[in-house]
């Protein structure tokens, strides 16, 4: 498609909207002292149609089980819907914080225009009433059954209608009207808008809307279509995260999502934004990207081709749900134990301490390993076992705080895994059970970017 330029982001075989949401949320929560009481997860590609996806996110973050969780979906507005729901949550419960995550793993048919235009990404925010870096001023929502594309329940791919119709009917008419209505409601001059963030489904629509409303050309931000691609319900939150990363205090930002209507959200940055500690956000993620030029790999990861996976892929991967439930904090939260007697940190949590000099029974405090620095102690690159991306890398991962376990090693190039390499733990798909539709998640060791070491 002539419009497609640059790059697009693709999920690894062991990533989906949920794992990317967890990754974004961990970065968002990196320096938080408080614990969110709610998790709102917006996506049109939640891995589970009936299992609380936001609950898995909360588990991966080891949030207390008193947390409120909910999924929002059904439209590419789901990301802003999650934001609005969370804003309402903290407005009603002023002493609480809410976590908003939006993630999307967008699949498209081979050789379709969407394959070039779509991207996989996630973004996350914490919402609350103290230390606010961008104040929500208000907004305006429109719900109209304008179907430029759709995907029926259970279908893997979107179906699209003509782009000219999308441009002429939606982006020349009711989208600008909704933006204008929001500005009028808040009594803000279009010329006073510093950043105009429109999650556009095709290039140049943001500029057209801005022009129609009277927002300055200079305020129209990069829509990230050439570096990320359109990340569906995550795209508007992604644009907001990207804008906030660079925004100065006192700026007015308008965020617009689009999908059978639109949500317009208006924010004003505060002085606190200047004090926000640096974090891994959009720019850092783009900077540490791994370039993939292997189209066959892209097709394989998105399961748009039928692959011979071999006999080993046929092993029965049934999940014992009761076992998973009993060990949920260990499996989803990467929570091990720390012996009350000798202080040894260990994974998995044990009935008797693993320290050969202790072996004390029955007194173990929970210890979360997800954010603990670790290194590779032993490794293998295995061409025999089944993995969607051979060779499988795995090995003994040893934590600086004490504790170790044999883990999958992900995101490494062949020949770069080595004893002593620093790693960080990431929440990923461990395996899929196509027969029963189950997805197993667990933690893997990923290379530590040089600047994080």
């Amino acid at each position: 498609m002539a419009q497609a330029r640059g790059e697009r982001a693709m999920a690894g075989w062991d990533e989906d909207s949920l794992t990317m949401a967890v990754e974004a949320a961990r970065h968002a929560l990196a320096d938080r002292q408080t614990t969110p009481g709610a998790v709102y997860f917006g996506s049109t590609t939640h891995p589970f149609a009936d299992r609380q996806n936001a609950g898995v996110v909360a588990g991966a973050l080891d949030l207390p089980e008193t947390v409120f969780t909910t999924d929002l979906g059904g439209s590419l507005k789901a990301g802003t819907a999650a934001l609005l729901a969370a804003l309402n949550h903290v407005a009603v419960q002023a002493d609480d914080e809410a976590l908003v995550v939006a993630g999307e793993h967008r699949r498209a048919r081979s050789a379709s225009a969407q394959e070039l235009m779509y991207g996989d990404a996630a973004a996350a925010f914490t919402l609350g009433s103290s230390g606010v870096i961008a104040e929500y001023l208000g907004g305006h929502s429109v719900s109209t059954d304008f179907v430029d594309h759709y995907r029926a329940a259970g279908q893997p791919f979107d179906y699209h209608w003509e782009e000219r119709w999308l441009r002429d009917e939606a982006f020349q008419k009711w989208v600008p009207a909704a933006v204008a209505a929001a500005l009028k409601k808040l009594d803000i001059e279009a010329g006073a808008v510093d950043q105009f963030l429109l999650a556009e489904p095709a290039p140049k629509l943001a500029a057209a809307v801005a022009k129609r409303v009277g927002i300055a050309d200079a305020a129209v931000t990069d829509g990230l279509l050439g570096s990320v691609g359109h990340a569906g319900a995550a795209h508007a939150p992604l644009l907001l995260a990207n804008a906030l990363e660079a925004a100065a205090p006192g700026q007015t930002l308008i965020l617009v999502s689009f999908g059978q209507g639109c949500d317009v959200l208006v924010f004003r940055t505060t002085s606190a934004i200047a004090q926000l500690a640096p974090r891994v956000a959009v720019k850092a993620c783009l900077a540490r990207r791994k370039e993939i030029t292997d189209y066959a790999k892209f097709q394989a990861f998105n399961e748009v081709v039928t692959l011979e996976k071999g006999l080993r892929a046929e092993a029965n991967p049934q999940t014992a749900l009761s076992t998973m439930y009993r060990n949920r904090r260990m499996l989803t939260g990467l929570v091990g134990g720390r012996c009350r007697k000798c202080g040894t940190a260990q994974f998995p949590p044990a009935l008797r301490c693993v320290n050969p000099g202790c072996h004390h029974a029955g007194e173990m405090d929970p210890h979360r390993f997800a954010d603990e620095p670790a290194r590779i102690k032993t490794w293998a690159s295995d061409w025999l076992t089944y993995t969607p991306e051979p060779p499988a890398h795995y090995g003994m991962i040893e934590f600086d705080c004490g504790g170790r376990f044999m883990a999958d090693i992900t995101d490494w190039d062949v020949g770069t895994v080595a004893v002593g390499e620093p790693v960080r733990m990431v929440f990923r798909v461990r395996g899929r059970d196509p027969q029963r539709g189950m997805i197993r998640y667990f933690w893997k060791a990923a290379p530590l970017a040089a600047k994080e070491a």
């Binding site: 260990m330 690159s381 025999l384 076992t385 499988a392 795995y394 934590f399 170790r404």
Partner: protein, 401 residues
């Protein structure tokens, strides 16, 4: 303090099936092949056997649960038969059951038989092991070469061994076993293989290539044991009698996989089991006193570190010993004189007993073309499970006097 098993039990007879891709046979026929040889060797009737132990690891793809397949197939005389399973130490475990029963006086004559029928699984390598409901939720999708390749990465890191130096030593190990196995009519693989071929073989799990991995075979082995006194009463001459000197088992308790002191370059349990075995057998200087040994060479790297774990090579010194030919057929302590798992493959339940079978033949001077000169002690070693979470079985057998 217990005084151990030394010289309390003698081997009355042994048998071993042809190992290989036995498409023509099921586990039952393989058991019969090993058992009938053992029975003839012992010179007894089936009804004289008072108890039996069946070693079989992968019951789901093999003969199924319980010990009835052995009792039914061999038409045992309604005696107690117990099926044992302890990963790759399964065969040794069956042998241990039979030996202990005789030593305890629970019966006069006992049978240990191990069998595994791997070639009906459809897999090129070992099929996956059932590991319960929790480990599959968090363990890597591992394979046997992959978990043992980690020993190689750790060994290279600990001793700062360049990859090509290790790779060459591993090739020497495999080439030595192939040379030995070529002289063994019961081995599966009977062709000498050059180091160059071994080093050029396709990669399975870095740095282990195809020829660093043992074969996948079907097979069975059997041992009939009794007391030296009964053996004598049955006409066996003390000068030609092989007795059990030590039987030890050591299992991980989780420290290797959970506590940060093991570096992954050796097998902790082999060291523990070896110390206890030497003490039980009364062997003070294994490098001087041991005549030969069969180790669990599921992979060439496993054999290399086992040489050190058994105290035969110094830590970090196995590469030199291997390159010096110390463990060759004409070396000081031949290792895998029968060809090892490398040439016999690893029908799990049979392997431990198959190793003892070779030691038994050698000690009686019945090993044919590969017969060693006047061996006195033979050690067998099995390593099952994963390097960080395993079962190690060691037996030492020797001449009665």
């Amino acid at each position: 303090m217990a005084d151990g098993i030394r010289d309390k039990v003698a081997i009355l007879g042994m048998g071993c099936s042809q190992f290989g891709e036995r498409w023509d046979m099921g586990a039952e026929e393989l058991m019969e092949e090993a058992f009938s040889e053992a029975l003839a060797d012992a010179g007894i009737e089936t009804r004289e056997i008072g108890a039996a132990w069946l070693g079989s690891c992968m019951d789901e793809v093999n003969i199924g649960k319980s010990a009835t397949p052995a009792s039914l197939t061999l038409r045992l005389d309604n005696i107690p038969v117990t099926r044992v399973e302890n990963y790759c130490a399964t065969g040794t475990e069956a042998f241990r059951g039979a030996v202990y029963a005789v030593a305890a006086g629970a019966c006069d004559i006992a049978l240990a038989i191990g069998v595994e029928k791997l070639k009906d699984t459809g897999y090129g390598g070992l099929p996956g092991l059932e590991i319960g409901t929790l480990p599959p939720l968090w363990w890597p999708n591992l394979s046997a070469p992959g978990v043992f390749a980690q020993v190689a990465s750790a060994y290279m890191s600990r001793y700062k061994v360049p990859r090509d130096v290790l790779k060459r030593a591993l090739a020497e190990i495999s080439a030595k076993s192939h040379a030995n196995g070529a002289k063994n009519p019961k081995a599966h693989l009977r062709k000498p293989v050059s180091c160059d071929t071994i080093m050029a073989s396709p990669m399975i799990a870095e740095p282990l290539g195809l020829f660093d991995c043992c074969g996948v075979s079907d097979g069975s082995a059997a041992a009939i044991v009794t007391t030296p006194e009964i053996a004598k009463s049955l006409g066996k001459h003390p000068d030609n009698m092989v007795t059990v000197k030590a039987l030890q088992l050591a299992l991980s308790n989780g420290s290797e996989g959970g506590y940060n002191d093991w570096d992954g370059s050796y097998i902790l349990t082999t060291r523990k089991a070896a110390q206890r075995s030497y003490a039980e057998a009364g062997i003070g200087k294994p490098r001087e006193e041991l005549s030969m040994f069969e180790v669990h060479d599921c992979f060439s790297i496993t054999e290399l570190v086992t040489m050190e774990d058994l105290g035969l090579s110094a830590d970090g010194g196995a590469i030199k010993d291997v390159m010096d030919g110390f463990y060759n057929a004409d070396g000081k302590i031949p290792c895998q004189i029968d060809g090892g798992l490398k040439c016999f493959g690893h029908p799990i339940g049979a392997s431990g007993i198959r190793m003892v079978y070779e030691m038994y033949l050698q000690l009686q001077g019945r090993a044919g073309e590969r017969q060693l000169k006047d061996p006195r002690y033979g050690l067998t070693h099995n390593l099952g499970g994963f390097p960080h979470q395993n079962v190690v079985g060691i037996s030492i057998v020797g001449r009665y006097r």
